[in-house]
């Protein structure tokens, strides 16, 4: 182990621009990774940052109007699901948003309803009226048309049945006491995100409305929050200069490696579930809780699975925040990712001294 850590420290200390990517880790792991990136003058990114960094940029430009899971579940009268992503990512989402028993007091007298926008074939919860806006029209178009219908703008289309459904959905949104748009930012382009947020901003002038954005996999939101309180910026941030810089194009792991701007990769994949998709063809220092085949030049360090081998603070969507997940396995003696990262940092300090 010690010689492996030495090797990792050497590779990182020698690198011109190292990237710490993957970042499927808990808050302690993210804290340690950020500290190491600052020390090395490197870049931090997350394997699921595509959607997050898009949402971050939209938020920085216009703001955002999120609702917590609890608010959506208990108080909405209209839930609009956009795209196939949300239900593919979380097949039980609708059952949890419509639990079938009365929730907390909610505004208005409307029966709770579901509007499905480009969701494909969906099994809706029993007893919940649902309207599906689908057909051959793309999701961005459907969102634009629904936005137009909501603000009573004029539009026309050949598919008269769909046209009527969209108009009815727009009217329903105007009549809603609390409408929430559910989507996965990984699936929607920035202009679509802007359209949804603009619709919410229109609705809140007279009623309640919000968005509910699906959390990125791999504790993406947790890592992103940790990055933000640590250095003021979300992931895809470089510490190469005195002042950290965020750029969702420039500091994306794969681009940095392909372009040759980055010359070392530290990859962290230490959570339960599907592995973080690692860019191919580049040797890396890999901190992983999963069995991996080491490629040529790879330095592989086995670490514990956060929330399984050790207690972990992770973003938990039901509380819309960071929560504690107790270790499922007792007595695991695998080191945490944070411990390994801090050890590497200490070795780098020793080399510098």
């Amino acid at each position: 182990m010690d010689s492996t850590l030495e090797r990792a420290a050497e590779l990182l200390a020698r690198a011109r621009l190292p990237v710490i990517g993957g970042l499927f880790t808990d808050i302690n792991g993210a804290t340690a990774a950020l500290s190491l990136a600052e020390k090395l003058g490197g870049v931090i990114d997350h394997a699921a940052s595509a959607g997050m960094s898009r949402a971050s940029r939209v938020m920085r430009e216009t703001g955002v109007t999120p609702a917590s899971f609890g608010e959506v579940r208990n108080r909405t009268d209209t839930v609009v699901v956009i795209g196939e992503g949300p239900l593919a990512r979380d097949p039980e989402l609708l059952d949890r948003l419509f639990p079938g028993e009365p929730g907390l007091p909610r505004p208005g007298k409307n029966k709770r309803e579901l509007i499905l926008v480009g969701c494909g074939k969906v099994k809706t919860p029993k007893g919940v009226p649902a309207s599906a806006l689908d057909g051959k029209t793309s999701v961005p178009e459907l969102v634009a048309l629904l936005a137009a219908a909501t603000r009573e703008g004029r539009f026309d289309m050949r598919d008269k049945t769909l046209c009527k459904k969209i108009e009815a959905a727009g009217e329903r949104l105007r009549r809603s006491a609390f409408a929430v748009f559910v989507y996965d930012p990984a699936e929607l382009a920035e202009p679509v995100l802007h359209t949804v947020l603009e619709t919410v901003r229109l609705l809140v002038k007279t009623t309640r409305a919000a968005i509910f954005s699906l959390a990125a996999p791999g504790n993406g939101e947790g890592v992103n929050l940790c990055s933000t309180w640590t250095c003021g910026l979300p992931v895809r941030t470089s510490f190469a200069r005195e002042v950290p810089e965020n750029n969702k194009w420039a500091y994306e792991t794969e681009r940095l490696l392909k372009s040759g701007e980055a010359d070392a990769l530290l990859w962290i994949d230490a959570l339960e579930g599907a592995p973080a998709e690692r860019p191919m063809g580049v040797p890396a220092i890999v901190l992983t809780s999963k069995p991996v085949k080491a490629g040529r030049g790879d330095v592989v360090i086995e670490v514990g699975e956060a929330g399984v081998d050790h207690d972990a603070a992770l973003f938990l969507p039901p509380i819309a925040g960071i929560g504690l997940v107790k270790a499922a396995r007792a007595n695991s003696n695998k080191p945490t990712a944070a411990h390994v990262l801090n050890s590497i940092a200490a070795l780098i300090d020793q080399r510098a001294a």
Binding site: R60, T65, S68, E101, L104, V243, G323
Partner: protein, 545 residues
């Protein structure tokens, strides 16, 4: 190791002390002068001012709401620096690390985060633990959550269970005290209310704002939590709201209570523009109600961002967003509104707000009950504190600023007629002794033997902005952490909280509630000692009962 601070002017109003003398430090505490021993280290502070480390009773430095602000506006330090504020133009300048460093450089050693969301307590504590040097504590928000409101339902109030629920929440989230923000107003917002008054009823629950605050006062008093309920009233920021503030003070029935950032409630509705200083009226009431303490929430001109659990108020405030972007986060309980804002000296309203804040400080009969704050970052970033100290201590400085303000604002304020200049001792009261006392942190805010060795040493100078911007020396728990205004050693502080007892039945009830309505187990958001790797991170402040 025995350390001596030799020959400084020691200002310790908690012990009526203002005179030249020595201080001794050993094992992180202030000690009596030991007989027959020579100090191992001597700092000659002859001619310098020696005070306890400062204690900030209300500053939004950590947690979901603050980080939402960072997410919305990473450019805040850049815009602030551009406008001449003393901050590095880097997004990192309002990150956790920089927060601790800058506070320490000014001589602050304890800061209270006043708005921790119960279900997000883990994030708040993780963020607090990333702030170096200073000690911290958090106040947890209740009063707009459905569990509380369910217990206060009109005609069916369950005060014993509320007391247990408050105790459980304080313990579960490792909070030092209770925060109530626009009691019932955020819940009313969920039913699309856009205003909410002291005696309005919360939809579906029937309890009034007044009723919620009264119940919380009783619960906190019964539990013996040293810090009284820390209350953000209704109608913040609205012309004429001084009447709400006075009515809320009257409603306290002699029970201990703290009102946060009262400048934002010091507004009359007189004059051509319907906006005037309500400071004399407010302070008459504050001076009379000796059960109440307040912090001021001074505003300063320049770019900042407002972050608040008063979602109803922030929703209304979104129209004044500058830059034009905002977040209304509709969360469990209060939710949060984040609205960037720029206070302009040429604006009649902003200029008057600035003057009202200073009037409040200067009209206080008892500085022990009128504490310093800017409600960071809502009134001003905390890096502006030294400029405000200057304004409070120097009448000429105030006159100089007043000259640059709109004539209409000067006419509606009484500031020009106030000659008072705060003394160093009074400043030490409002920034050290009084907040420590109010928080129940008996081991700080003063310099008597036994106190924690949190000490700030300044060079006295006419320019108080310069004087308080960078301390000559700062000791945190006896360690020298700042020299000549720069951090020379990075240490890590402690987090203070209370653990009032409760009937364990409440755990079962709360668990059933969260399971039914949220599909969540409360253990997910409980704060564990192991949240940091520092074994002595948490310290319990005893309750009085």
């Amino acid at each position: 190791m025995l350390t001596q601070l030799k020959g400084g002017r020691i200002i310790d109003p908690a012990h009526d002390r203002d005179g030249v003398g020595d201080l001794y430090i050993e094992n992180g505490r202030i000690v009596e002068k030991p007989e027959g021993r020579e100090p191992d280290e001597v700092h000659d502070v002859t001619g310098k001012i020696v005070m306890a480390g400062a204690v900030d009773v209300h500053s939004h430095i950590a947690g979901t709401n603050v980080t939402l602000g960072r997410q919305l506006m990473p450019e805040l330090p850049l815009l602030a620096a551009e406008g001449g504020q003393p901050i590095l133009p880097s997004p990192a300048a309002w990150g956790s690390y920089a927060t601790g460093i800058r506070y320490a450089e000014m001589g602050y050693t304890t800061v209270i985060e006043p708005a921790m969301i119960p279900t997000h307590a883990i994030e708040a504590h993780a963020e607090l633990a990333a702030i170096p040097i200073i000690d911290v504590a958090a106040l947890v928000i209740l009063g707009n959550d459905d569990y509380t409101l369910g217990l206060l339902r009109k005609g069916k109030a369950k005060s014993d269970e509320l007391r247990d629920y408050v105790a459980w929440t304080l313990s579960h989230s490792k909070a030092l005290g209770l925060k109530v923000i626009n009691a019932g107003g955020s819940e009313a917002f969920k039913f699309n209310a856009r205003t909410f008054d002291l005696d309005e009823e919360v939809p579906e629950y029937g309890v009034t704002s007044r009723g919620i605050v009264e119940a919380m006062q009783k619960a906190v008093e019964d539990l013996g939590v040293p810090h009284p309920p820390h209350v953000h009233c209704n109608n913040l920021g609205i012309a004429g709201n001084v009447e709400t503030a006075v009515a809320t003070l009257e409603a306290t029935q002699g029970r201990p209570i703290h009102f946060a950032h009262v400048q934002f409630y010091g507004y009359g509705d007189e004059g051509e523009k319907g906006f005037s200083s309500g400071a004399p009226r407010l302070m008459e009431a504050v001076n009379k109600h000796k059960n109440a303490t307040v912090d001021v929430g001074q505003v300063m001109f320049g770019q900042t961002i407002t972050i608040s659990g008063d979602i109803l108020r922030q929703f209304d405030g979104r129209r004044a967003a500058n830059p034009k972007k905002w977040i209304i986060s509709q969360g469990d309980g209060n939710g949060t509104g984040v609205v960037p804002y720029k206070y302009k000296s040429k604006s009649f309203v902003n200029a008057l707000q600035w003057a009202i804040g200073l009037e409040i400080f200067l009209l206080a009969d008892d500085p022990w009950r009128v504490l310093f704050s800017t409600d960071h970052p809502n009134g001003a970033l905390f890096i502006r504190y030294p400029e405000i100290f200057h304004l409070l201590m120097d009448r000429d400085e105030r006159a100089r600023w007043l000259d640059g303000l709109p004539e209409a604002a000067r006419q509606m304020s009484n500031l020009a007629g106030i000659a008072r200049e705060l003394t160093l001792s009074e400043l030490a009261v409002i920034t050290r002794a009084a907040p420590a006392k109010l928080l129940g942190l008996k081991d700080r805010g003063h310099l008597a033997p036994g106190a924690i060795a949190d000490i700030a040493v300044y060079t006295e100078q006419k320019n108080k902005t310069k004087m308080f911007s960078s301390a000559d020396l700062v000791f945190k728990s006896g360690n020298l952490v700042v020299r000549k205004g720069k951090v020379v050693r990075v240490t890590w502080g402690r987090c203070y909280h209370v653990e009032p007892g409760f009937d364990p039945q409440i755990e079962k009830r709360v668990k059933a509630f969260y399971d039914r309505y949220y599909g969540v187990d409360p253990s997910w958001f409980g704060v564990d000692n192991a949240i940091t790797h520092r074994p002595d991170r948490f310290a319990t402040v005893p309750c009085l009962n």
